[in-house]
Amino acid sequence: MDLSLNGMNLHIVETTKYKTNTIVLHIKSPLAKETVTKRALLPYILQSGTKSFPTRQEIRSYLDELYGATLQVDVGKKGENQIITFRMDVTNEKYLNKQTPLLEEALKLLAEILLKPITENGVFTEAIVANEKRNLKQRIHSIFDDKIRYANMRLLEEMCKEEPYGLSVWGYEEEIDAITPKLLFEQYNKLLKNDEIDLYIVGDVTPEKIEAVVKNSFSFPIERQPFQTEETKQIKKAQETVIIEEQEVKQGKLHIGLRTNTTYKDNDYYAIQLFNGLFGGFSHSKLFINVREKASLAYYASSRFESHKGLLMVMSGIEFENYEKAVAIIKEQLINMQKGDFSEKEIAQTKAVMKNQILETVDVPKGYVELLYQNAVAKHSRTIEDWLQGIDRVTKEDMIKVGQKITLDTIYFLKGKEGK
């Protein structure tokens, strides 16, 4: 069930599959250099204290009291948008022989976290802001410490220099010091006014009851005027860029970015999904078989498709000296697939695992919400049925056609230091 309530989009999925009920709140706004760092801080500030639970510890104690309800915050990217996410999960009291309405309590708490933060002098408290600024710096550092994540971030930075998508959703360390509680609070007010908010509730629930709780608890202090989604612009580059960097690593991290020029809204979307699946999405894929199984160059060699920006990212961990060999094999696989060098059997195999993946995703509450949220981001609805039928209908010609739209943009390679 979907409806608009208090300026938010409320989505309720009724199911008896689970022993818990899940709440997901997505807050979306266009990625921009001026706001990205402040917005990366906001969810962490909000989960640190409310009017009735002034400290993080008090919020956490209350969650424990609700039979270990979970609350996680996160910041992510979909197309050219920065998404702030709150996720909660509470046990269904039916399995506890208890009468406490745990889901209602959890919803009220989430509303309080979003709408009634603890303040001093009308803005966020100094101590909380200082703590979370420090933690954000740490979070930014931790990307560097995880070499696969780091290489992926560097690839996008280089590849999308001129596009919002190239921004890191965690923001920039050099901007953190200048952020004051007042500036943050202004950003928070903009969020309440302009960001598009989607609230998902999945579980064994009564929609009317949920609606009433949401209506009462989520009352915004200001008139909401949500923005529309930022449109993705497709860029064409004349030639491919190669970036090679050095660090003290033992294994080379090879990341390659391609532009498919196809996104979630397009008619050939299922075709690009299948193309990616057979190219590097699964263990029967061209990359897995040729880079790993045949050439024995890598443990992992795969590709991932980003639906809203339409990028396809290849990644593999290899010996430094195998760089040329690996790049050549990967390029060859792409060219062969663009030429149609794959069989009907392979297509059938890819369709089978892809449909399986969709059906498995909806078995997990958070997976289901993720799938539904794609519709909200793209403003284009695809039901589970659409997915299954859409995949089935794709032909070999569709895959070749969509494949020919793909161009290689940037190759990024992180290797060990010379002489070590």
């Binding site: 022993k19 510890q57 399995y95 740490q138 995880d146 078989i289 059997k345 089978a352 078995d363």
Partner: protein, 427 residues
């Protein structure tokens, strides 16, 4: 076929021990699209010294061989088993831990075919010298991937610190040098010894008909013959009740230092209900000490000594066990000092009744949440079974824990003699 009901959880479990010794468990889950099955042997990286089936003398095998064997099982005369699974719309995988090797698939269609594929490929070893050599390149890269992963190095570093003799201190995948010694004959020896149905558990969970599935498994197993085996003889050297190293520092290309502290288990031979109670107690104690609602967490967080990466965990299997606490930190030595102080203060004070009740409530809720996951149920149930415990006893055991038991366990486990530290520092 035995039927076991868990009324409060609204679950029914079906069980049968087949003639060849294989234990089969089936848990129907209505409403789920997917069926998930694991076929697990009680054989992991620690089983590196044993008497091979049919032999008299003990054999020591190269580090990483259980994991290597797991990789090689996916290949047969016709090629790669992954291919067959994906044709049948399934995702297949496997993992090797300290004590177990599990093969698994999940699928939403052709469940029966996939189940037969799982049983058949795990019960059909096929190794050639060429395929063994080729795999060395792939696993070599897997080892190097972990070599660059600072969290992984830190975690295994702290375990390595604890043990003098026990093979849990050896990396599960081995080293590039150790896997180079692996041959096709050694793989067959390990396979013959540890992949007997008597040493294995099959667990299937999903929207399935238990009667039909059991029939299918029985028919499949009846077609195969296995050598008669006595109990497997594993050899473990004595492990002294102290830690091997008090502290270890690893230098890596990181910006933020990382620090884990650990307590080695003193009495690692608990099994059954004894072990279940013990591990639930230590987990609750850790949560009381360092959970996000504790005073200690608030202090550490506000002092800037920890961040979101801070975590803690207790694991135990027959022969070893440990609790591990820590994460990223700006000041690793200050963190160690503060944690030590907090732990010593904690174990000397009586516990607060309300906080104990709240921690138990939280643990019950967390357990309920994990029952949403077919993967969790299959993997954990198997692990519990191999340690003579029952996953579905968790709630009952939690509800009956007392403050006094917890206080006693705290004094026993968090012993300064068993304390060790591992840090990753920027190069």
């Amino acid at each position: 076929m035995k039927q076991i009901m868990f009324e409060q959880l609204n679950e029914t479990l079906y069980h049968k021990t087949l003639d060849n010794g294989l234990n089969v468990y089936i848990l129907p889950k209505q409403g789920f699209n997917k069926t998930y099955a694991t076929f697990t042997t009680l054989y992991g990286s620690v089983d590196n010294h044993f008497i091979p089936i049919g032999a008299k003398e003990p054999l020591k095998v190269p580090d990483g061989i259980a994991h290597f064997l797991e990789h090689k099982m996916f290949e047969d005369e016709d090629g790669d088993v992954f291919q067959l699974f994906s044709k049948q719309g399934a995702q297949a995988n496997a993992f090797t831990s300290f004590t177990r090797t599990a093969y698994l698939f999940s699928s939403t269609t052709e469940v029966e075919k996939n189940l037969v594929t799982l049983l058949d490929f795990v019960q059909h070893p096929y190794f050639t010298p060429e395929s063994v050599e080729k795999e060395k390149g792939i696993i070599g890269q897997e080892i190097k991937m972990y070599d660059d992963n600072s969290d992984w190095r830190l975690y295994f570093g702290v375990i390595e610190n604890m043990y003098v003799n026990h093979p849990v201190k050896i990396d599960i995948a081995g080293t590039v040098e150790s896997i180079d010694q692996i041959t096709k004959d050694l793989l067959y020896t390990c396979y013959e010894t540890f992949y007997h149905p008597k040493n294995m558990v099959l667990f299937i969970v999903g929207s399935i008909d238990p009667e039909e599935i059991m029939k299918l498994v029985i028919a499949n197993q009846a077609k195969k013959t296995f050598k008669e085996i006595a109990a497997i003889e594993r050899i473990f050297a004595d492990e002294p009740p102290t830690v091997a190293n008090k502290k270890q520092i690893l230098k890596m290309a990181v910006h933020t230092p990382k620090c884990l502290v650990g307590f080695k288990e003193k009495d690692p031979n608990k099994q059954g209900q004894d072990l279940l109670k013990h591990e639930l107690c230590i987990n609750i104690l850790l949560d009381l000490m360092f959970g996000q609602s504790s005073n200690n967490y608030a202090t550490l967080y506000n002092q800037g000594l920890i961040d979101d990466s801070f975590s803690f965990d207790y694991s135990a299997e027959k022969g070893f066990g440990f609790s591990i606490i820590g994460g990223d930190t700006k000041d690793p030595d200050q963190l160690v000092e503060t944690l030590e102080e907090m732990i010593q203060t904690f174990i000397q004070k009586p516990l607060d009744d309300n906080m104990v009740k709240r921690a138990i409530k939280k643990k019950i809720g967390t357990f309920m949440r994990s029952l949403n996951s077919p993967e969790y149920i299959a993997n954990q149930f198997t692990r519990y079974q191999f340690n003579a415990m029952n996953l579905f006893d968790v709630i009952g055991t939690l509800e009956n824990l007392t403050k006094e038991e917890l206080e006693e366990k705290a004094k026993g486990h968090f012993d300064p003699k068993m304390f060790t530290v591992c840090q990753v520092l920027p190069k």
